[in-house]
Symmetry: C2
Subunit: 298 residues, 2 copies
């Protein structure tokens, strides 16, 4: 049999497996629903929102519907736009002290006159379903079983879904943000991976990503990670959510930090944008809500 | 002038600068003493020890003397060997609530019937001068100015003493312990270095260390990092404290994780063991005690 010859213009035989974030999120939600039904105690998520946050209001409405469908009670505390920081803190303390409430979250952004980090620190560590209280990610360093930030937890879940073992794997995190890059690096260290955290000052990104079994692109730069950056067969998780405008057509679209077309024929597994990390992150909040409730029993 | 020719048997002209940890610690103590004297409020360190901890008792006695010499009040709370966890927690709560106490620490090890992590979590974040409450290292991820674990803080201080800039530097942390490796990786990420955390499962340690501007050896393995691992001119920080026995002579000595003889002609800067990280770590507790007191004013 004659070997087929490819040219650069022809599609290669290999293509990465696309990780279906929406399907994984649906499975997570189903599992949460099953376990909520089996629990002896009701789970109740209390969300706090300050008026003048239309994106948050849409998210909260979706959240209310999703919680209802999973059997989780949902209470939205709506505070006026001119509310004070101490009023927000009071609301959190009430939720912390309310035994019926098993999870607490605050919709961001908060108005500028309120210190977001002070508010997040006030959330009871055991009810902090978004994992935004620093004690939760700090606890991971000491091996505690804590509630971890949802995006970082989603990334870990997506990697695990490929069956790739993290222990001893070479993992590169592209981007060192407080919200994603640093927390996921901590989770990866806890999983006993060899972890490299890179940032905008990294001089030779290529030399790191090119040898990585897993690349996590979380820099907020459209198309930063290309096929040339990736080792054949690697797992590539795209955390970027960038709105870009096509000047020719005048349309805007959402793209990731990964150059999908060039990485697809090289990687072993690849998450799409949209439909990858995003939906799993949303589902992780529900899993954390379940976890917080389960632990409050024991 | 004729160039001198070296052979492998001859000493090389180059030798790393030995970082004098004892001198750096002395400077840190002097700075603390000066600033304590200038403060309007007294600093008081409260240490808790459970009987049956002879090493801790020696350390506490030294600590009492050092604090006195720096103008820091020192109160040692001694609990009986059969004390309960709740008695230790009560003692911490008393210190947390005592306005005259500005710093709290617990001498380890605690008896086995006491949960060390639960005790550490109970220490007021603002008085946690050893940086052992997870909220403190977690806060670093979110860019808070917190009290950080003393060994990790000492490593950062030693690197800074060389004048090497961490932003954009390639740094490899050999060893991912909860006490040193993981916390220092977090501090290095915050300093905008490119950070690689390795552990016992890392398959190719050499490929990482060989390209690093800074190598931190914190694996607890005598002589693990050799000259072959190190890039010429790199900063090498040796965190290892290993007691080894010379079978021929029957004597024991303390050695680090770095093979001093082979690294000395390659590295640019090198910490010795003993006399490197150790004394600076002890001095960091005093600096944290000062910091905690200063912040309690503001």
């Amino acid at each position: 049999m004659q070997a087929q010859r490819y040219t650069a213009d022809m599609p290669t035989a290999h293509e990465a497996t696309i990780i279906d974030g929406r399907a994984i999120a649906a499975t997570l939600r189903d599992t949460v629903a099953d376990r909520v039904q089996a629990m002896q105690r009701a789970a109740r998520l209390d969300a706090i929102i300050v008026c003048g946050n239309p994106a948050g209001e849409v998210y909260a409405a979706n959240q209310a519907r999703t919680c209802e469908s999973l059997g989780i009670e949902y209470t939205l505390h709506t505070l006026p736009a001119e509310t004070t920081e101490s009023a927000v803190l009071d609301c959190i303390v009430k939720c912390n002290n309310d035994e019926a409430c098993t999870g607490v979250m605050v919709h961001l952004p908060l108005p500028e006159h309120i210190d977001t980090q002070a508010v997040q620190r006030a959330i009871d560590v055991a009810k902090d379903v978004e994992g935004v209280n620093p004690a939760n990610i700090g606890g991971v360093i000491y091996g505690h079983r804590t509630l971890v930030p949802c995006t970082a937890a989603a990334i870990m879940h997506l990697i695990e879904s490929t069956g790739v073992s993290l222990q001893g794997a070479e993992v590169v995190v592209v981007g060192a943000s407080d919200i994603v890059g640093k927390p996921v690096a901590v989770l990866l260290m806890q999983a006993e991976a060899t972890v490299t955290s890179t940032n905008v000052h990294t001089t030779d990104l290529f030399s790191h990503t090119r040898n990585a079994d897993v690349v996590i692109a979380a820099a907020g730069v459209p198309g930063l990670v290309t096929g040339e950056h990736v080792k054949p067969g690697a797992v590539v998780i795209d955390v970027g959510i960038n709105r870009v405008r096509d000047e020719a057509t005048g349309t805007t679209s959402t793209v990731g930090d990964v150059d999908f077309e060039s990485v697809l024929p090289v990687a072993g597994f690849l998450t799409p944008v949209p439909g990858g990390v995003g939906p799993v992150t949303v589902a992780m909040l529900l899993r954390n809500t379940l976890e917080a409730c389960l632990r409050s029993h024991s």
